[in-house]
């Protein structure tokens, strides 16, 4: 009952924005607009799915933005040598490695997730910048493979729907099944609730944590590759900047508590949609960017505040 109520309030907020937009925003119900929403939401959703898992274990992963940059740059670097698919695989493998490292530090050595991922955030961002040598890598200078990767970001399925919907749908479905239908999902939430008692109950907590952080990094890597493909450029310094904060905001607006123990996948999806709606409302009504930022801040605080009261 409580769960239904909580979902209800998020959907109500989303509906509020949809109605607000349909009243005041010209061209809101255009297909092009929906396609825009999908393309822009892609990194937030992908990172948000991993972040939902991490936050539900009571941790946090602020390295996702840097992992995005690393994966994007690595793909662009390897692509001319190895071809497209191996390069993507290598970038994803590197991302998973980073996640495994964070998971081992958090799970085995019992260190605070925030510091570990902070260290990784600085380190991996630096690595991404070193890799691309301080210059942005433009895909149109990479020949055929560059064009192929650009298609990953610009291709439209049936000439209409952006390709980004595929990774988004797969990620949401995978994480939803993981959380709601599998033993591992139960274990993840148990670890977040009380790590000591779940360890005593026979859960291999360090393995669970490692899987969670690896998954978060993998999704971040995927997000980085798709984001780089969308803009057709891999920039070590700007790719994925602030992505971690967007993802955290989406998760928290979606009703997953920062203290852990509960994961709401549908909530994160709605949270990301609400964030996107806020941005969209501002952009399509020609509100200047600086006012939009203040508005966005107010809306985030408001959304989280409503959440909190409902949970209590």
């Amino acid at each position: 009952m409580v769960k239904i109520k909580r979902d209800y309030i998020q959907i109500a907020m989303l509906l509020f924005f949809v109605i607000l937009n349909s009243l005041f925003t010209p061209n809101f119900f255009r297909i092009g607009n929906f396609n825009n929403i999908i393309t822009q939401m892609c990194p937030t959703i992908l990172c948000g799915m991993g972040m939902t898992l991490v936050i539900s274990t009571g941790g946090i992963d602020i390295s996702v933005g840097s992992v995005m940059a690393m994966a994007g740059v690595l793909t662009a670097k390897l692509m001319p040598v190895t071809g497209l698919v191996p390069a993507v695989m290598a970038a994803l493998a590197a991302s998973v490695l980073v996640g495994c490292f964070a998971g081992i530090m958090v799970g085995k050595l019992r260190l605070q997730a925030m510091v570990i991922t902070l260290g990784l955030m600085l380190g991996i961002r630096g690595l991404a910048q070193v890799l691309c040598g301080g210059r942005d890598i433009y895909f149109n200078k990479l020949g055929e493979t560059g064009k192929a990767l650009s298609l990953w970001g610009t291709y439209k399925i049936g000439g209409q729907i952006p390709v980004q919907i595929v990774p988004m749908a797969i990620a949401v479905l995978l994480v939803w099944i993981l959380v709601e239908k599998t033993v591992l999902g139960r274990q993840i939430q148990a670890v977040g609730d009380n790590i000591k008692s779940s360890s005593l109950a026979g859960i291999n907590t360090s393995l669970v944590l490692m899987i969670v952080y690896a998954a978060s990094s993998m999704f971040a890597g995927l997000a980085g590759i798709f984001q780089a493909a969308k803009v057709s450029v891999a920039a070590g310094s700007s790719l994925g900047q602030m992505a971690e904060l967007d993802a955290i905001a989406a998760v928290v607006i979606g009703g997953t508590p920062m203290s852990g123990g509960k994961a709401s996948v549908s909530g994160t999806l709605i949270g990301a949609l609400i964030m996107q709606m806020i941005t969209l409302t501002c952009v399509m009504n020609n509100i200047p960017d600086q006012y939009a930022q203040v508005f966005k801040a107010l809306m985030i605080v408001f959304a989280v505040f409503i959440q909190r009261k409902q949970v209590k």
Binding site: L122, I124, G126, G236, Q290, K296, A297, I300
Partner: protein
Amino acid sequence: MKAAKKLYNSFYSKSTVLAFLLLLILASIVFRDKNFLTTANIFNILLKAAKNGGFLALGMTFVILCGEIDLSVGAVFALSGVVMGLTGQVNPWLGLFCGILVGVASGLTIGVLVTKMRISSWIASLAMMFALRGLILIIARKSVVISGAVLTFAGAKVLKRVVPGMQSGIPILIFLLFLITFLCMYLSRNTKFGMGMYAVGGNQEAARMMGIDVDRIKIKAFAGCGLIAALSGVLLASSSGSAALSAGNSYETYAIAMCAIGGVKLSGGEGKFSGTFFGILIYFIINTIFTYLPTGISVHWQSVIMGLLVLFSVGMQSEVLRHIKIGKKKEL
């Protein structure tokens, strides 16, 4: 002897001090032909620390000790300088006052959001960061020029011709850095508020049951953090003569990193301001070393090294490692 012991105890974060000394010695050996360990260079490092957000780490320590986080310090850093420049055109003293007031107000707001409205400090301070960055662009179109004797006070230098190697005098910013560090150390060790911070960060529920007003202490800590961030922004603007709109971008990350290097436990309740101070120094020594390196090495390695340093310095704090060293692995 007793006094010496007391002084030593107040710098308890041994590993950080050790790392600092090690780094200093190493750098002076490697760069001995480039005069690394000269008075001028040491003062240069201190000045850099005072100008480029060293203060922010001190403020951040208050909040982290309470087990919270403040992501808005970078934005406060920029906003306070801009506000000082704009209101300073009316009256310089009003400018200084308003510049610092901005930080206190934003800190108080975050504190109230976190304690009374029960919003996670991540979200509250993130929202504050967005709002303040927007506000900066609303109130100013381009960077604000700061002039006048009162407003540019922080550019002053004192003790001319006293210290050898520093003929033109020592910037007062350096004294302020030391002064504020000692003030914070005093606050955290000798006052009810300071003790309360450790209690709240260690175990909030226990602190509440002991009769500590948890909300009040958290709000004070956030206000203190905002105050120091604003002061830092005012000092930078005042010493450089202009307030840039994009100042302090992503400084919050560096401030948290300096705290982590200084041995402050990021989940709250443990850590010292002296540790943070050495964390700041370590950060800026590495920063300076990178200006000494040959041009073939990418400056971006700096970020990698900083990340490794954070990982290493927390890795050493791990309870698990400590037990392995002693030889009895306890059930954790």
